[in-house]
């Protein structure tokens, strides 16, 4: 097994940890802003919207990088159901990373609400429509909780690999010394 195939590429690792931080921030800001009327509400909203656009761009970039670079193989010692769960969870992450910003953007478009990024108004991606807004808003909200649940699962699985199985899966995403052959 080549050294490079034991780890995600540097670009993938940077994208992973950067986006992990951004997505967690989005989830906390999202539920936080829905639960306050203090002036921090506007600060949170004004971070949430442009950060969502940034995450959308990074998620598309990451998908392209994954397409080109692929991923290190899962250890042979993992059972088939576990491997399947790992792969499905990654698919779910990609779907949600791309769908969540698009749902947020389109829900604002459906509400005829301006989406401003870096001082520029972005185009509306769906026509204004109250019923459509309601559907998109409901989906954005529900999938946000799904995404957080998926994060918890991913977090637990990563630690399980690192501390219990010790099978090198966790290290494929870190820059530690464990990339050497074991």
């Amino acid at each position: 097994m080549s050294r490079s195939s034991m780890k995600f590429s540097l670009a993938q690792r940077v994208l992973h940890w950067g986006m992990a931080l951004g997505i967690l921030a989005m989830l906390f800001i999202g539920v936080g802003m829905m639960s306050t009327i203090d002036s921090v509400y506007l600060l949170l909203v004004n971070i949430h919207k442009p950060l969502g656009i940034v995450i959308l761009a990074l998620a598309l970039l990451r998908l392209a990088v994954r397409w080109r670079t692929g991923a290190p193989p899962l250890p042979a010692g993992m059972s088939e159901p576990m491997k399947l769960a790992a792969r499905l969870s990654h698919v779910a992450f990609y779907v949600l990373m791309i769908a969540m910003p698009l749902l947020g953007w389109s829900m604002l478009s459906a509400a005829d609400y301006p989406v401003v990024f870096a001082g520029m108004r972005l185009p509306s991606i769906v026509p204004p429509n109250a019923e459509l807004h309601s559907m998109l808003w409901t989906a954005h909200r529900a999938l946000a909780f799904c995404l957080f649940a998926l994060f918890l699962l991913h977090f637990a699985a990563a630690l399980f690999h690192a501390w219990v199985r010790k099978d090198g899966v966790f290290e494929t995403m870190t820059s530690g010394r464990s990339d050497r052959r074991r």
């Binding site: 005829d112 637990a156 630690l159 219990v164 010790k166």
Partner: protein, 355 residues
């Protein structure tokens, strides 16, 4: 199996490691629950504010949770260029900008009689060519009855407290700003037309000009039509929709106009408290004229599905230390999310061939 980076757990039994993972996952979930306000039931949320506005029989589905009765209009804002001195907002440059607006009455019931509406509102969306928007929702009293969003919520609760009729009185006694508002409400004439009402931002905002200088302001739309009061004993006899019928006929006959007057705060003026009126001698700049050119019934009107969120602002205008715009934005969003989910309760009429 030799590992280095997990040295702290290297010698620990599996059970302890699993417990550590479980604890971390639970901690993350708790942090999330805290951010969401689930662990702090006392937190004043936009949901609570909106719930507090509901009438005793529950909210009227499909309608705005406050200022539920309204009528849409189309028009324009003609800027004279004078406000460019204090704000670089695109709609202050000389020119004509399309406006979508709504006249409305404060209150949660869309079938209320116009004669019972003490507080009237004007909401506007002014659009610049570059896609920037200025949304504002104003009312006709010269001051707000309540100094903070929290007090606003407490007032709603006190008024709704049927078990303790003295609750509202106690609240009024401890909030003297209510008296000043009561004095206005008790003496100000009821104009016979929206076209004769003056509408005030009450909340302060900060204007920033092209040089980067900032100035805290409030603004008003001042009618060009003279006020013709409806005698108080006649108010109850009027048609429940007399304001809507009047403005529809009036605008059909001729565009109705308001002057936008921006009032500049002096250093030290209270900018965070909409119950405190600034002295009369503050500098004012007339920025342009609002023309209302077409009235549209709300059911099919362009204003219907617009959230007149007062924090949708162009470059050159931003929020000040006034706590209300943020609270209003948060609450309006909840109202919007609820009423759009109930669209079927407020059907459009166009499909049935009505105008």
């Amino acid at each position: 199996m030799k590992k280095h980076q997990d040295a702290p757990s290297a010698g620990l039994p599996i059970v302890v490691r699993l417990a550590a993972i479980l604890c971390l996952v639970i901690a993350a979930a708790c942090a999330f629950a805290y951010a969401a306000g689930w662990l702090t039931p006392a937190r004043l949320t936009p949901t609570k504010i909106v719930d507090s506005l509901a009438p005793p029989g529950g909210p009227v589905k499909g309608f705005r949770r406050n200022h539920a009765k309204g009528i849409c209009f189309a028009g324009s804002f003609e800027a004279n260029g004078d406000a460019v001195e204090i704000s670089r907002a695109p709609m202050f440059k000389v020119g004509t900008y399309p406006v979508t607006g709504r006249f409305n009455l404060a209150g949660p019931i869309p079938t209320m009689a116009d004669g019972t509406g003490r507080v009237r509102g004007l909401s506007l969306r002014i659009q610049a060519a570059d896609g920037q928007e200025w949304r504002t929702a104003m009312i006709n009293p010269p001051l707000f009855p309540i100094a903070t969003p929290k007090d606003f919520y407490e007032l709603q609760r006190a008024n709704a407290n049927k078990d303790d009729p003295s609750a509202a009185k106690q609240f009024a006694a401890s909030h003297p700003s209510l008296r000043a508002f009561g004095a206005w409400a008790g003496t100000a004439p009821f104009a016979e037309s929206y076209a004769e009402d003056r509408f005030n931002s009450l909340n302060s905002f900060v204007f920033t000009n092209a040089q980067g200088q900032s100035q805290t302001v409030r603004w008003s739309f001042i009618p060009t039509a003279a006020v013709v009061p409806v005698p108080p004993d006649e108010l109850k006899k009027r048609d429940p929709d007399f304001l809507f019928k009047e403005i529809t006929e009036r605008v059909a006959a001729a565009p109705q106009k308001w002057k936008l007057v921006v009032t500049l705060a002096n250093p030290g003026d209270p900018t965070s408290d909409p119950t405190k009126v600034w002295p009369d001698d503050r500098r004012q700049i007339e920025a342009g004229t609002l023309l209302v050119t077409r009235i549209e019934p709300e059911a099919d009107g362009a204003c219907r599905d617009i959230n007149f969120d007062p924090t949708v602002l162009p470059e050159g205008i931003h929020t000040s230390d006034d706590p209300f715009p943020a609270a209003r934005s948060a609450a309006y969003a909840v109202s919007y999310d609820r009423r759009t989910a109930e669209s079927s309760h407020y059907p459009r009429t166009q499909a049935e061939g009505k105008p």
